[in-house]
Amino acid sequence: MGDTDIGYWVVPLAVFAGAIRVSTPFLLVSLGECLTEKSGRINLGLEGTLMIGAMSAYGVSYLTGSPWLGVGIAAMAGMMMGFLHGIICSLPRVNDTAVGIALMLFGTGLAFYFGKPFIGPQAPALPSIEFGWWSDIGQIKSALSINVLFIFGLVMAFVISWGFKSTRWGMIIRVVGDSEDAARAMGFNPNFVRTVTTAAGGALAGMGGSFLSLFYPGVWHEGLSSGQGIVAVVLVIFARWNPLGCLYASLLFGGAGALGPALQSVGFSGGYHLLNVAPYFLTLVIMILTSSSKQRLSGAPGELSVNR
């Protein structure tokens, strides 16, 4: 697979490939957060969950040689973190945003603690599917080698979107998220439903973490996530609590995140650190443009505390 000289076409191609690659953790985390927020709770701890997922997946893959087992364990670990958040927030008068901040710091600390021995050794990475078999150009081939976790996230976006509209569980989640009183009157236990959605959201975020350490960038170190979990939480607001919106928003942010490395590949090296935080700038700008102090955002679950 030789690299052909295709000039500046490298940049859009790299942005496209990068959009898919960089967006995968955003997609999985924002779908998980969307699930949680639809039930009326916000879990800011997903940043920590992402780190725990990345660390546990890398560790398991290194020790057992099976990256898929790593993904499974990452999902389990994420679920445990989500479950912890769900249980603590079910106690009366406990603030879900504050617990999220605490779990973010706790999760990162745990990931650093257990991840120490895995900084350095190379773990087996996740395989990807080659969609570029028809082309002879190396860059196109590598741009079209798409990871299975992205496809999983793509399918999940449609499944969750359909689930919210057309399944009994989806409707229960929406009722609990929009009005606790209505949910109680219908005989559902809001705390139970929210704990379940937070645990499920945590599992998705844990898988998002496994993508970071096992595919792209494909190593484990302590600065691996640096805020991607928080960006994903904002994406949910940007996507107006719509799972398909999460998909498009993740792709947009993935593209913004890929711009830095793409420009570097053609020799544009100024402002490396600033280009790396392009997604954070974009997030901030979008929040400023789309928020309003006068009214609530359309589509926001009624019980969600960040919007009150």
């Binding site: 008068r93 901040i101 779990l103 706790f106 600390g109 745990l110 939480v233 650190h273 928020s291 960040v306």
Partner: protein, 349 residues
């Protein structure tokens, strides 16, 4: 009497939470094959066991006093600001920049004062802007403040690797150093810099501001009930922005002190996590500026003991992060007991 039991119960809940966290962390290290009792003995020794460790703890408590205010003051108005780390970094950068420009022709005392002012103003603008966005555009302050942490760190890295870089420091990208004559000295009789005293004074001053002045009273009304505040005709927006700016100024000042008293230049050593530990200090102190003083000392001690625990017990240095995380989670979970400790309530006759 009721006032007293209220205060007692308010202090008792975090203390109980601390004890429960200690048990949980003990179990955690026991799984790592380390004796919990030995761990706590070492934490005590490294934090408050000797005069040397006391000084180390005080030195680390100094920035925590100020970064905790960055969360605690806006919290009095119902805002959750978790971006103290960003304000600290920006404050450090602003102070080092002013020092590098001014130190060649101003006397050292004047440079020191402008450094502190520059750090404070930079931090005040950084967090005050978050308050303004919150008020004017409804931008969620939790998320914007955290995003700005990453942006601040990127600005720091860009500057110290770019135009502000000192070529004489090849191993670690840093700015040029502040002149030795400008560097802060130590408090009389101890090996702790003046920043500690500044931090304590700042905490006391903001306590007076929030609890003993009409300004602070109206700010706390906004926190308690924004609708009532509007009905009273209080200038909600102005109060939000000023209080956020004061909190940000405190964190920026912490950055300026770290530069002027510890590092002598700006580099990635500024990103030491004081901003994040400050959030925990603020929550544990229940957002009360006076309560921040003992809590900051406690966590300064925990930070100071990290090295000793790591060397003696062969635990990863993140063990301290785990301990802080456990304390944070348990403290918040224990909110559920606040005001409900039945044995403290006066029985009805």
């Amino acid at each position: 009497m009721d006032y007293f039991t209220d205060k007692l119960s308010a202090a008792l809940v975090p203390i109980l939470a601390l004890l429960v966290s200690a048990v949980l962390f003990g179990i955690f290290v026991a799984f790592a094959g380390v004796s919990p009792f030995e761990t706590y003995a070492l934490i005590y020794k490294g934090a408050f066991g000797t005069w040397f460790s006391w000084q180390n703890s005080l030195q680390r408590a100094a920035p925590l006093l100020l970064t905790a205010l960055c969360t605690a003051l806006p919290a009095q108005m119902g805002l959750v600001i978790i971006g103290g780390e960003g304000a600290l970094v920006i404050g450090g950068l602003a102070s080092v920049s002013t020092a590098l420009v001014l130190q060649s022709f101003l006397p050292p005392v004047a440079v020191q004062i402008t450094m502190l002012l520059a750090g404070t103003i930079a931090g005040a603008i950084w967090i005050g802007g978050i308050g303004a966005l919150r008020h004017k555009r409804g931008v969620n302050e939790i998320i914007s403040s955290l995003l700005l942490v990453y942006i601040a760190i990127a600005i720091l890295n860009t500057l110290v690797e770019g135009i502000m870089r000192d070529p004489g420091q090849p191993q670690k990208s840093s700015t040029h150093p502040v002149a030795d004559t400008v560097m802060f000295g130590n408090l009389p009789g101890m090996d702790v810099h003046w920043g500690l005293l500044i931090g304590v004074m700042f905490c006391i001053a903001t306590f007076v501001l929030m609890y003993l002045t009409p300004f602070g009273f109206s700010a706390r009304i906004v926190g308690g009930n924004p609708r009532a505040a509007r009905m009273l005709g209080l200038p909600v927006g102005k109060l939000v922005i000023i209080i956020c700016a004061v909190g940000g100024g405190a964190a920026g000042l912490a950055g300026a002190i770290e530069v002027a008293a510890v590092h002598g230049r700006a580099n990635s050593a500024l990103i030491a996590g004081y901003g994040f530990t400050g959030i925990l200090v603020a929550f544990m102190a229940r957002q009360n500026p006076l309560a921040i003083i003992p809590v900051a000392l406690l966590f300064g001690g925990i930070e100071a003991s990290g090295g000793l625990v790591q060397r003696r017990l062969d635990l990863p240095n993140a063990a301290v992060e785990v301990l802080k995380g456990i304390i944070f989670v348990v403290v918040l979970a224990f909110e559920t007991f606040s005001g409900r400790l039945g044995f403290l309530k006066r029985r009805k006759p």
